[in-house]
Symmetry: C2
């Protein structure tokens, strides 16, 4: 370590002290109330005064202390979004929508991941109660957290909006924005069936994810409607991850009665699935067809390009954020709590073909 000599001198360039509203007021020769008005309600101040104050602000480089403002106003302009994994490109896309709307409305975003995170129900509850944020967006089912959140919400009347999935019963009555996951999963499965597939397997996410469970319902429903049997071992958990999906795919392929098509509950898992099928020496879609869900940005560059269900991810994000803003601004009685259903669509690329066998 050849650190500079003065490296630890704490006094070096000890320049301007923090400037508060008080020093601006002094310099401008007005009261602090007037300075505050110039910033927040300039129309209530005479032009002459306003000019003096603006001058003083410029001189001092004053900028209001956000901490004091938040405290005084009782709001932070911070929104917390809880999601399973920010690393999933689908959620990244939703986040872009949220961010865009947040920016427009003057909010910043705090992200909490439930997946990679060890955040406990108590911690989340604490966050809610601590008034650290003005509202919450839930993009992940919080079954374990459900009741906790609700009680905190009723105490603080903290606005909450749910995105991307149907809300669990313990969170009933929260507004939400999502596609019809059951119908979309049916569409995916029916597309496979329409191609002639009968031995169709599914990789769902995990038990705790309402979202992927809805997709599983849709799959089962479509199979049943088509009078198609779902054999033992044809439904496997992919943990919403590439590695989980690879494992699941190996199991699926190991069945004596190998499926000719696999429906993956999201594209992230479909990518793992695709890889594992090819690693087993089989071809896609020649030997096995694969269909995904989400239409993430990688879906069009997989090999083969992935047929999948597209969701309007950014739109969901924007809508969720707007709904939340409305609740924050108008109080929780505002608007209704109905689910907003946005449309999904089947995106046909090249990972599905007619069954060969």
């Amino acid at each position: 370590m050849t650190g500079r000599l003065n490296d630890t001198d704490p006094q070096e360039d000890d320049d301007l002290p923090d400037v508060s509203i008080k020093v601006v007021a002094e310099i401008a020769g007005v009261s602090i109330a007037t300075v505050s008005r110039c910033i927040n309600n300039p129309e209530k101040v005479s032009e002459q005064t306003r000019l003096k104050v603006q001058q003083a602000i410029l001189e001092t480089g004053y900028s209001p202390n956000t901490l004091a403002q938040s405290f005084r106003r009782g709001r932070t302009n911070l929104i917390m979004v809880v999601l399973p994994s920010i690393g999933d490109p689908f959620f990244t896309a939703v986040m872009h929508g949220i961010r865009a709307a947040a920016k427009e409305k003057g909010y910043s975003i705090l992200i909490e991941e439930t997946q990679h995170n060890t955040m406990t129900a108590d911690e989340i509850g604490a966050l809610l109660v601590s008034r650290q944020t003005d509202g919450i967006i839930l993009l992940a089912s919080m079954s374990p957290f459900g009741t906790k959140i609700l009680s905190a919400q009723s105490r603080r009347r903290l606005p909450i909006v749910v995105g991307c999935e149907k809300i669990s019963s313990d969170l009933a009555d929260l507004p939400s924005v999502h596609i019809d996951n059951v119908a979309a999963a049916k569409d995916a499965t029916n597309y496979l069936i329409a191609q002639g597939h009968e031995r169709i397997a599914m990789i769902y996410g995990q038990e705790s994810s309402l979202l992927t469970r809805d997709r599983e319902f849709g799959y089962r429903d479509a199979m049943k409607t088509a009078n198609l049997e779902i054999r033992d071992g044809w439904v496997a958990a992919g943990q919403l991850s590439i590695s989980g999906a690879r494992q699941a795919t190996r199991e699926l392929l190991g069945n004596t009665d190998r499926p000719t098509a696999i429906f993956c509950a999201n594209d992230e898992m479909a990518i793992g699935c695709l890889h594992e099928i090819k690693a087993a020496g089989l071809t896609v879609p020649g030997d096995v067809s694969v269909i995904g869900f989400d239409d993430i940005r990688y879906a069009e560059v997989t090999d083969p390009p992935l047929t999948t269900i597209g969701q309007p991810a950014e739109e969901i994000g924007e809508r969720v954020m707007y709904r939340l803003c409305r609740r924050i601004e108008e109080g929780r009685g505002s608007g209704n709590n109905q689910a907003q259903i946005v449309p999904h669509k089947l995106v046909i690329r090249q990972s599905v073909a007619k069954p060969s066998s």
Copy 2:
């Protein structure tokens, strides 16, 4: 819209009012100072009193108002991370490291994207000055923001640490944590050269990204050292995105003097590159070899699996965060400002072979 009848009744379950330290004090029969001590310095309070207060806290469900605490203490326990794109799996991995360390240290994370974002230099400057966060992590070169940040920093002495890339000259003297990008790019290029490649092209990110420019330097240096020519049109900008890389790859492949290998400045672009090569009817690595950078989680499931440079992403994140915490806690004179270099490694998979031509 078949909204429920009472949907907009603002008075429904109008329960517990917010409980402040004052009501806890009253119930416990002590002063608010004592309540505060019970929470923050329990060892300064007699056990008997402590029990009374704990009881009162339980009864009321009291939780301190974070806004008031932040204001009073002059810190928010919020860290701002500025990065190009949270959607890039590499940055997601860095963020996991940051998050893990932040959690341990009691900080929450605010994310600002420079890429998808329209955040202006002024806005970022304003954020810095507004005391909204206790410190900043820069994972993206902020050339346009550089001076702004510095001036704000000197005014507020806001701790800043840079991650993932060398710092630009206008931010000199900030501590940083990163791999040696130049050396790593040389390693990648030299690996290609060692396989016998001579016509090696490169897809870099964008002009404004110091990080990818360092990688370009490394590439050029390795080529020069090996006395290999870099033809016109062999270096293209991929904009750090899949679509940008596809475009760049098309240009590269269009050269009369087609390269036999392509070095991509990150894996995200390599994925686009791989796809486009195959779409052109060529094989990887048969006709064209591809090497990436970052070793994101998709790298092992591309087709073929991607040879790339691995970075210890989570470790970088953790180290950056720890350094930042140290600065926040000990003042900015603490520690030294030297760059911490972490090791990279070549990860050999199957996207590189000897040139056929």
